[in-house]
């Protein structure tokens, strides 16, 4: 087990640092990243996405909705009665195919987008990014801009440091708690949960969920941050695999930035662009802003890196600098590997005319069409008729042949419904529903009833199928017809 740790270096060991065993670090040092805030279109877009996403997430469970069969909450995933309420759409466990289709669509959409413009999900939409962003904003708001935050960290633990760091973490935990609470509120009636939760009457699972989500939100967004993306997240790895040579990614134009003689800070004789061009230096003035704004703490000028979540903030930072020194924008920009290294670079543009993009696009269209169709054609009533197989048939004392059926009726509407059951293809009188005059099913409930069909011997010999017609009284036109087998003596052997 030792061997993998052992490194044999030929030609001297002077490059290695020797820690005495008692000084060897036990764990990887985490270098905290204190990002500089930045203004620009990418930042604005991120803020917009953040506001919309948070508004939807935090407000949705509190939206009231007219509902008879359950609590009046617009979006509620009711695990107890196994129904998901999404506005006027009520889904049942048997609709699981919609969910799986939705997940297929989400996956294909991720592949589709990543092939075109890289890790857009990571940079702008991922929960990890959004919550980290909010927590960084909290730090910025309480502790100030990056230099102030760095200074604060160098101070001894005096009152100012304790107060500022303490209050930012307190706020983060508060946001985390409300995140956890909101999550739990999706699974039960939110106002009720609010009341029960704070009076100590909520279910154990509610407390467990809220505490777990508070802890994980605070840990991932408040402490671990970029480490989640770098060490933990599987999406980070497989999105990188979806990149092509033509994929637009956040890139540093090294040809322009470095020139022949490399990047250099503006100093005497290197202030104007003409001077720099004459001396062979590129446009990068080595201000380091692109590094300071980066939430994963990398230097985009080293080329494409797996840590880059493609948030575009370095583009904003660099463009601001270019504006201030009067150089053209776009030293860091969305561009493709192919274009950056091409001898005849063009303006960066989406390259979608390849099999992969078109294939994903087409499959997306097909899947979405199916989903929309399936949801639009959902029925308010579900009926299943199953023949009782034990026994398949029985001969009555007068020679008639009897088959029995289990009829399962699900009433997915918001009101109580009355159903009548009839048979086709055989005489009306053959159907025996016991003493049930009609079948009353409450809103959102289901029932199993037993039906019997007795046929004269001769008729039974020629009957192989019968049709049940289940008619809801309030909507006779939506009667459901189910064809089932009828077994008689001819199949006895």
């Amino acid at each position: 087990m030792r061997y993998p740790h052992i490194l044999k270096i030929d030609g001297g060991t002077e490059s290695m640092t020797h820690d005495t065993p008692d000084h060897s670090p036990l764990y990887q040092k985490h270098i905290p990243i204190h990002t500089r805030s930045v203004k620009g279109p990418f930042r604005n877009f991120k803020t917009l996405v953040l506001i919309v996403a948070f508004a939807v997430f935090f407000i949705l469970p509190w939206l009231p909705w007219e509902r008879h069969s359950a609590a009046g909450q617009a979006v509620m995933f009711d695990l107890v009665t196994r129904r998901f309420f999404i506005f006027d759409l009520v889904t049942y466990p048997q609709d699981i195919f919609w969910l799986s289709m939705l997940l297929f669509i989400a996956a294909a959409f991720l592949f589709f987008v990543t092939g075109l413009i890289g890790r857009a999900w990571c940079g702008y939409f991922c929960f990890q990014t959004l919550w980290s962003d909010v927590f960084i904003m909290i730090e910025h708001w309480i502790q100030g801009e990056r230099p102030a935050r760095l200074r604060l960290r160098k101070q001894p633990w005096n009152a100012e440091r304790i107060l500022k760091i303490g209050s930012s973490h307190f706020l983060m935990i508060l946001v985390s708690f409300w995140t956890g609470f909101t999550f739990a509120a999706y699974f039960t009636y939110a106002p009720q949960l609010f009341h029960d939760f704070f009076t100590g009457h909520a279910a154990d699972v509610a407390y467990f969920t809220v505490i777990l989500l508070t802890a994980t939100t605070y840990m991932c967004g408040g402490i671990a941050r970029e480490q989640i993306c770098i060490y933990m997240c599987p999406y980070a790895r497989f999105q990188s695999v979806m990149y092509e040579k033509d994929t637009l990614a956040v890139s540093y134009d090294a040809r322009r930035g470095e020139g022949a003689a490399g990047r250099v800070a503006p100093k005497e004789g290197l202030r104007t662009r003409e001077d720099r061009v004459a001396k062979g230096h590129g446009d990068c003035i080595d201000c380091g802003f692109c590094v300071q704004v980066c939430p994963t703490g990398i230097d985009i000028r080293k080329g494409m890196q797996y840590q880059c979540i493609s948030c575009g903030l370095c583009i904003d930072a660099c463009n601001n600098i270019m504006d201030s020194v009067g150089y053209p924008r776009g030293l860091i920009r969305y561009d493709s590997e192919a274009n950056l290294h091409s001898d005849t670079p063009t303006k960066p543009h989406l390259k979608w005319k390849n099999l992969k993009v078109i294939g994903y696009g087409a499959s997306l269209v097909i899947m979405m069409a199916w989903l929309v169709w399936a949801v639009a054609h959902r029925t308010a009533v579900e009926v299943r008729v199953q023949q009782v197989r034990q026994p398949l048939y029985v001969v009555l004392s007068d020679g008639k042949v009897r088959n029995r059926y289990q009829i399962h009726i699900v009433n997915k509407t918001e009101h109580e419904e009355v159903f009548t059951v009839k048979v086709e293809d055989v005489p009306e009188s053959a159907l025996d529903l016991g003493n049930l005059p009609e079948i009353r099913v409450r809103a959102g409930k289901d029932l199993n009833i037993t039906a019997k069909i007795d046929l004269e011997h001769e008729l039974a010999e020629h009957t192989h199928e019968v049709r049940f017609v289940v008619t809801p009284h309030s909507k006779p036109e939506e009667a459901v017809v189910r064809e089932v087998n009828f077994h008689g003596q001819q199949e006895a052997h």
Binding site: R2, H5, I6, L7, K8, I9, D10, G12, T13, S15, M16, T17, H18, D19, T20, P21, S24, P25, L26, Y27, Q28, K29, H30, M219, A224, Q227, Y231, V388, R389, Q390, P391, V394, V395, L396, S397, D398, G399, R402, R404, Q406, D432, G434, N435, L436, P437, E438, I439, R440, V441, R442, L447, N448, I449, T450, K452
Partner: protein, 309 residues
């Protein structure tokens, strides 16, 4: 990356063979702390749940008692409070389930038979609870689905009810049990007369028979043999006695449908008449099942299985 690292990589300081060194590739901090947390978790777990063996006993954990109602062998109930364990957890969950189910049993118990059978919601309960009760208690004899077995137990799916198929009669049968028997006629009647009676019995339900013998059998059936006393003058049976209707196509004790030849069928009937039958025993369920369980079973047998007449 890796090249930058190699330049300033730190080692543990162990050196073998002059230049063979061991790198320290430290674990990430969160990982190390997760490890510590699992240790803390296990200590809390030891305190809270049964964990350590001590001699013949063990630590019971604190603040984890479970109270449940236990039914003893003699039928009496007792409250038990113990430290946490899987069995008491199961018991308390079963208590909760039973309480949940009780509402439905109570509803059925408080509603007359006719009313239950008209209520789709209650019948839904009867269908599922009845099925479980039937499978647990009745199916060993009446077979899965209540199909019965010729020579052993009646079919409950058809419309033949030896002891009557009304709710009241079915309930009576389940509660008090039945003791069906038929005397042996060997020795009472000589062999040739046994054959004649058997031919008559087959003729009642239109099975192949010898018409002449059946005619002679008719007389024996109604006079000398005394069969009509139980089976009735028309051979239609009597539900109060549990005597079979001989005019229908239904056979329970003589396996007539199972024989393909006329001789075989005749033989079956002769065997039954001469040997009699004492196996028509239905056990008493009165003390073993609760009245409301019997009521649900009655409804299940009447409406879900047979559609009793």
């Amino acid at each position: 990356m890796s090249q930058d690292k190699a330049k300033s990589v730190s080692t543990t300081g162990h050196v073998w063979d002059e230049n063979l060194q061991e790198l320290t590739n430290p674990l990430p901090m969160w990982w190390v702390w997760t490890f510590y947390l699992t240790i803390i978790f296990s200590i809390i777990y030891w305190i809270m749940y049964p964990a350590w063996p001590i001699g013949t006993s063990y630590t019971k954990g604190v603040g984890n008692t479970i109270t449940y109602t236990n039914k003893k062998v003699d039928g009496s109930e007792e409250q038990k409070t113990t430290h946490w364990n899987m069995r008491s957890k199961l018991m308390s969950e079963m208590n909760a389930h039973n309480a949940e189910q009780k509402q439905w049993f109570d509803k059925v118990a408080a509603t007359p038979y006719e009313e239950v059978s008209k209520n789709a919601e209650l019948m839904n309960f009867v269908n599922s609870a009845g099925k479980t009760l039937f499978s647990d208690n009745c199916a060993p004899c009446h077979q899965a689905g209540g199909v019965g077995k010729i020579g052993f137990s009646p079919n409950l799916v058809d419309d033949v009810w030896i002891y009557g198929g009304t709710y009241e009669k079915i309930q009576e049968t389940i509660t008090g049990g039945r003791n069906g028997m038929m005397p042996a006629f060997k020795g009472v009647l000589p062999d040739d007369k046994l054959k004649q009676v058997a031919n008559y019995v087959l003729s009642l339900s239109g099975e192949p028979h010898d018409a002449e013998a059946a005619k002679a059998g008719d007389a024996i059936f109604h006079n000398e043999g005394g069969c009509a006393v139980c089976h009735g003058a028309e051979g239609k049976g009597n539900p109060d006695l549990g005597s079979a209707n001989l005019t229908d196509k239904n056979w329970l004790w003589a396996n007539v449908p199972g024989q393909s030849t006329a001789e075989g069928k005749l033989d079956e009937v002769v065997k039954l008449v001469s040997g009699g039958m004492s196996r028509g025993k239905m056990p008493v369920w009165g003390g073993r099942l609760k009245p409301e369980q019997i009521k649900v079973l009655t409804l299940y047998v009447h409406d879900s299985l047979g559609g009793g007449k």
